[in-house]
Subunit: 200 residues, 2 copies
């Protein structure tokens, strides 16, 4: 096949693809606040959540973050985003195997949830990241029905991002976009330490 | 079961879990520049890549981004990260179905790759994001062996993040951490427009 014929075929294929893409774009005209879920056992869920916050802030939107598990130590994303106007609320007790105290964990989770509910009622906040909230639902530290009710009643244009493993199916059903991050491999399993700027 | 007994059982379980976690942390002592891959068909790959860049910048690390597909239009993450010292190189031709010109696409891809190679030789750059480079390898616009060689020869402490669907298995084999982002559902498929601050 000559290069010219190859180019022509490529052009025809791409024209067909463009027609399909344009048709899909034309069909997607609804504007609304989205509920995004990043779940699964792979690395990249919180990071993607923070990437979304970076994107939102870059457009001048107002964003707020509640960190339900991590965030008790210095985090690169928090440094940058706080400096750029994002308000953080950090539960700060850390992992359940660090505290080893169920009552304390539950109280801290409920305080973080009370703050989250306020954010979910505030129309001035464009994007809310509830980082690793799924674990709090799984442990029953916060009530699933309350979470569903608060998400349903939130301002119409507010986007919410939820991250964490094993997201409850009722939240997945309610969500607009759901990605499952599957681990193919992880450096940590091969003896490599968590790296500053990459893992925290 | 009384609350007290429940708490004691929780504490014992958490102590066991902490011992396991501590053992894994003790075993993971190697420091090195990581190769991270985010692949799969779900939403959140590039977003996670940009989240990693936000994290790195927040720690005062120097980061550079090459965008192989998107980036031709205004992006929230670019606004924020450029303002905070991240250098962007944008291929800027957009999707192949927009240009409909294979030769032009290939030239643009190779120019972006030449720039990427320079970054991969520069020890002053701590983190390089090669956003959506996988497509360029799939289309054979850039040479896989060159990519593998450049990744292998890069400075020992440099982290690289690669995003895009259908990442070549040779890159996956070389990578330290690989996540596959699987689409569970996507708002766009239900007639919802790409939302500013969330999708771009």
């Amino acid at each position: 096949m000559t290069d010219e014929k190859d180019n022509d075929r490529h052009k025809t294929r791409m024209q067909e693809q463009k027609a399909k893409v344009d048709e899909r774009i034309a069909a997607a005209q609804e504007d609304k606040g989205l509920l995004l879920v990043l779940t699964g056992n792979g690395k990249g869920k919180s990071t993607s959540g923070f990437g979304t916050i970076a994107r939102a802030v870059g457009h001048g939107l107002k964003a707020s973050v509640v960190q339900y598990v991590k965030g008790g130590w210095e985090c690169g994303e928090r440094n940058l985003l706080e400096k750029n106007g994002v308000e953080f609320h950090v539960m700060g007790t850390g992992f359940t195997w660090e505290t080893q105290d169920k009552d304390l964990d539950k109280l801290a989770a409920q305080a973080a949830w009370e703050h989250s509910k306020k954010l979910l009622q505030d129309p001035s906040i464009d994007v809310v990241l509830l980082d690793e909230i799924t674990y709090m639902v799984t442990y029953k530290y916060i009530d699933l029905d309350e979470v569903l009710a608060a998400l349903t009643a939130r301002p119409k244009d507010q986007h919410v991002v939820i991250t964490g493993r094993a997201c409850h199916r009722s939240i997945i059903e309610m969500a607009d976009t759901v990605s499952e991050v599957r681990p193919v491999k992880h450096a940590f399993d091969n003896g490599i330490k968590a790296q500053k700027g990459i893992d925290w």
